[in-house]
């Protein structure tokens, strides 16, 4: 590949100036004339039937324009997940419910002239409930006498009874597990649990729905996918997709929390249709905390090993809390299995996953999508195996990791393909060197009578996209973009892809500029905030770490197409053949006489004048692969035996995303993943009160996110194992940075104290309890 001019360099990010000046409009900043404000009445009970609902007093309140209840909503069951193909989804939600299934469930909705009136109106709706017994634990929920959360759901057009609250079972065996264990010299068995952590996107969810005079709906919403939102909103409302126009806006973070329609979009749409007025809904932070989270999981893990550290058998059984409505639950359980199979090589492996309804608020996609749930058991046990066998933790990972040519399961247990690029050895070796692994592992752990020093390692990965269609169509994956030239030779990139705040637009503009061979400054991201499903080609948007790899692939192909078209037009203008021409450095010239060139601007202008039309390139791609993007984390810490507090000293984090397209953005992704992962390790846990079913700590005071003063020094590094299928050799980065952080912390705490924690987060309380201090 020739030297890259734009890819791999830092620029001022496309949206940075708008954001630093406060000019960027997020959905929650939007106002339009005659706009009403919506609020949702939520169930105070975890499981209850609405026996009576009377909104007459609310409707009498001046300023109240509409109140909706279950009686007013289409009797269509929906599922909010964007990326799973509709026909395979568990459909179990109404827009407003007759039966509440968690504390906070959607019972009624109000639209009023202002927010104060809408809030007041909620208090005036008289609801009577018949309480039902509730269940919060997935294992208890499977018992014969457990409360039935859903009697029947829909999958496609089929009515499906729900048995024992089970949403789905997943199972896959590679080789012969029993034979594998019989060949092992040693077998390790453990049980681990990961918690209900929340994405905590900085911007609480919001939506603005404008009913148009012609019956269409214009929907402004922070979302990872305007087409995903359109698909699911159309389905929930029972409308054709073309009647809805979804508009992309700036997004205040996401981390997967915008990979599904939430309850608000269809509620707000119905209110707008009923009142014939624009309606806006904004979550409070407390509502945000019961909107989505990572699925809690309990895993039993069993591994068979030879004395030399070779793995003979690997088994994982995961029981996942599927919450009150399925959303991404089945897909998350399914993906746990894929990630598990792709961690380490063994000839015999098996995954069994079960995901179960409980009376807890819905969980959804969260950065890593099932990976941390298996990474914590796998990487904790790998450390125990290494210790037992007397092998260095870095060495045992180098020996067994899935690498070049091995099978990688990129989206659940059914979809797999060979690894074509792998930076794992370099990640482990470089990371070990940077942190001083060899020397520090031997350091004295007792640094004072009450303080212990420890250092730990863990590794992980994530997919880059959802991969090809060979294995059946249960996951959407499709990239399509438009690149078009302006008369001045600058080019626009038109894509439905969302920028969740990480610089995706920046990456796509750099890829387009590199492909077109024009300066970065001459590429424009069309309508950063404002492009809609009406004009952008269909693309599922920013999820599954597919931004750089899959959407980037689509942008590159569209730019190549535009470049081809500019050659054809230039050939017409110059009265020659396109194959005799060359496009380079913003010019087209005959290969034989480079001095006779036309600039892109001259060609673009003449193209219109001479009737060739505007120069437009398009793309339509289902990627043939979904390569793993690998990561590694090393962490040093000290544990205070008096207080149980973990003091973070130093983190070294490495990532292999193939070609780094936009270095500053990649560093922010990796550094942000470290921060979020440290929170997952030590502080972040949404607690459900088992008496009332309410979320105890759903606010930013009691749900602890690491702040500037909590962060240790973090050293970041990249290994560029170029991916042959990726645009300019790029893979993804988005999700992997969180996946292995907590495992590294748990391993370091073990190294410091000799205590193996099998439940996250590792809070001071858990440490003191393990020490017998409380």
């Amino acid at each position: 590949m020739s030297k890259l001019a734009v890819v791999g360099k830092d620029y001022q990010k496309t949206d940075a100036f708008d954001k630093i000046t406060g000019a960027a409009k997020f959905c929650s900043d939007m106002t339009v004339p005659r706009m009403l404000h919506a609020k949702v009445l939520r169930s105070p009970y975890p499981h209850a039937i609405v026996t009576k609902i009377d909104a007459s007093d609310a409707l009498k309140l001046p300023g109240v324009k509409a109140v909706l209840t279950h009686d007013d909503v289409p009797k269509i069951l929906y599922n909010r997940d964007y990326h799973t193909v509709w026909d395979t989804l568990e459909r179990d939600n109404y827009i407003l419910e007759k039966k509440a299934r968690y504390v906070g469930d959607k019972i009624a909705a109000v639209a009023a002239e202002d927010l104060d009136t809408a809030e007041e109106a909620l208090d005036l709706i008289d609801v009577r409930y018949q309480e039902l017994p509730a269940v919060y634990d997935p294992v208890e929920a499977m018992q014969a006498d457990a409360p039935k959360i859903h009697d029947e759901i829909m999958i496609g057009d089929r009515r499906v009874p729900v048995r024992n609250n089970v949403i789905r079972n997943t199972s896959l065996e590679v080789g012969d597990l029993e034979k594998g264990f019989s060949e092992a010299d040693m077998v390790f068995e453990d049980r681990y649990a990961t918690q209900r952590a929340q994405q905590v996107a900085s911007e609480p969810h919001s939506v603005l729905v404008i009913p148009e005079a012609n019956g269409r709906l214009t929907v402004w919403a922070g979302t990872q996918s305007i087409f995903g939102l359109r698909m699911k909103l159309a389905a929930a409302l029972g409308m054709p997709e073309s009647m809805i126009k979804c508009v992309r806006t700036h997004m205040g973070g996401s981390f997967g929390s915008y990979l599904d329609m939430n309850i608000y979009e269809p509620i707000t749409a119905l209110l707008a249709m009923k009142t014939r007025r624009p309606v806006k809904y904004v979550n409070t932070r407390e509502e945000e905390f019961i909107s989505t989270a990572r699925h809690p999981a309990v895993s039993y893990i069993k591994t068979g090993v030879k004395r030399d550290g070779t793995l003979t058998a690997r088994y994982l059984k995961t029981m996942m809390d599927g919450a009150a409505y399925a959303a991404h639950s089945a897909a998350a359980s399914y993906c746990v299995g894929g990630w598990f199979l792709s961690m380490y090589k063994a000839p015999n492996m098996k995954y069994e996953g079960c995901v179960v309804y409980t009376n807890t608020f819905p969980c959804g996609a969260f950065r890593g999508f099932g990976h941390p749930q298996q990474n914590f058991p796998v990487e904790s046990q790998m450390d125990m195996i290494a210790e037992e066998l007397g092998i260095d933790p870095v060495e045992i990972r180098l020996k067994n990791h899935v690498g070049l040519g091995d099978d990688f399961y990129y989206q659940g247990v059914a979809r797999h393909g060979p690894v074509c690029s792998c930076g794992v050895p370099e990640l482990l070796e470089k990371g070990a060197k940077l942190i001083g692994w060899q020397e520090k592992r031997l350091r004295k752990r007792e640094i004072s009578p009450t303080k212990r020093y420890g250092i730990g390692v863990a590794r992980g990965f994530h997919t880059s996209g959802a991969g090809d269609k060979r294995y059946g169509g249960d996951t959407y994956e499709y990239a399509s973009s438009i690149v078009k030239f302006n008369e001045d030779g600058a080019a626009n990139v038109i894509t439905a892809g969302a920028d969740t705040g990480c610089g995706e637009w920046q990456v796509w503009c750099q890829i387009a500029a590199e492909t077109l061979e024009i300066p970065f400054e001459k590429v424009i991201m069309s309508s950063m905030s404002g492009i809609t499903t009406d004009e952008a080609p269909h693309d599922l948007g920013t999820h599954a770490t597919r931004g750089t790899y899959a959407i980037g692939m689509g942008v590159k192909a569209a730019a190549e197409d535009a470049k081809k078209r500019i050659l054809e037009v230039a050939a017409g203008i110059l009265e020659g053949k396109a194959e005799d021409l060359e496009a380079k450095d913003g010019k087209v010239y005959p290969k034989k006489s480079p001095d006779r060139g036309l600039t892109y601007a001259e060609i673009a202008r003449e193209a219109i004048n001479l009737g060739y039309g505007p120069i437009i390139g398009t793309s339509a791609i289902r990627p043939s692969s979904a390569p793993p993007a690998f990561g590694v984390k090393f962490v040093e810490l000290e544990v205070d035996l008096d207080t149980g507090k973990v003091n973070l000293l130093n983190v070294v984090a490495g990532h292999d995303c193939g070609r780094v397209v936009y270095p500053a953005g990649a560093e922010c992704q990796l550094g942000g993943g470290v921060q979020q992962g440290l929170g997952f390790a030590l502080t972040e846990d949404l607690v459900i009160d088992e008496e009332t079913g309410a979320t105890v700590n759903g606010n930013l005071r009691d749900y602890k996110i690491l702040r500037t003063t909590d962060m240790p020094p973090v050293q970041l590094f990249f290994v560029e194992a170029l991916e042959p299928t990726g645009p300019f050799g790029a893979k993804g980065i988005g999700e992997a940075p969180i996946n292995d952080m907590a495992s590294a912390v748990a391993n370091a705490i073990y190294h410091a104290t000799g205590m193996r924690f099998k439940e996250l987060p590792i809070t001071p309380e858990r440490i003191l309890r393990a020490l017998g201090r409380i």
Partner: protein
Amino acid sequence: MDKIPLTVDVNGVKYDLKVKPHWTLLRALREELQLTGTKEGCGKGECGFCTVIIDGIATMSCLTPALRVQGKKITTIEGLPRQGKPHPVQEAFLEEGAVNCGMCIPGMVMAAVAFLNKKANPTEGEVRTALSGNICRCGGYARPVKAVLIASQKIMEAKTNE
């Protein structure tokens, strides 16, 4: 509920507003003045997104009743640039690639500006403490912290050249 008159100077412009007694300054800025650069992240003084400068002091506008700012001088993110040129803190955030999703940025910038007005040439630890009321979920804080340190140099250089 009747609205009450409020006179306030925002970004050098005097406004005569009418606000309800329970409204916060944040709500008055966003809804009455359409100054939506100041963000709401929690409404409880935990995230720092809504930080503005009131008479020189960085303050969370979601915890400030609108009627408490009668006659005071308020600066928001929109009021920082001078003659169209971004403030040195804004410049440093742009140059250091410190802007991700941008929800925390206005509050973080305002906290940093108020801090640097009082403290020239701070240490990294002092910057971290000054920004500890501002949550960021995207980038792990490294770049904003570095940007504030660079901004402090820019401000000192500008003062030397004056």
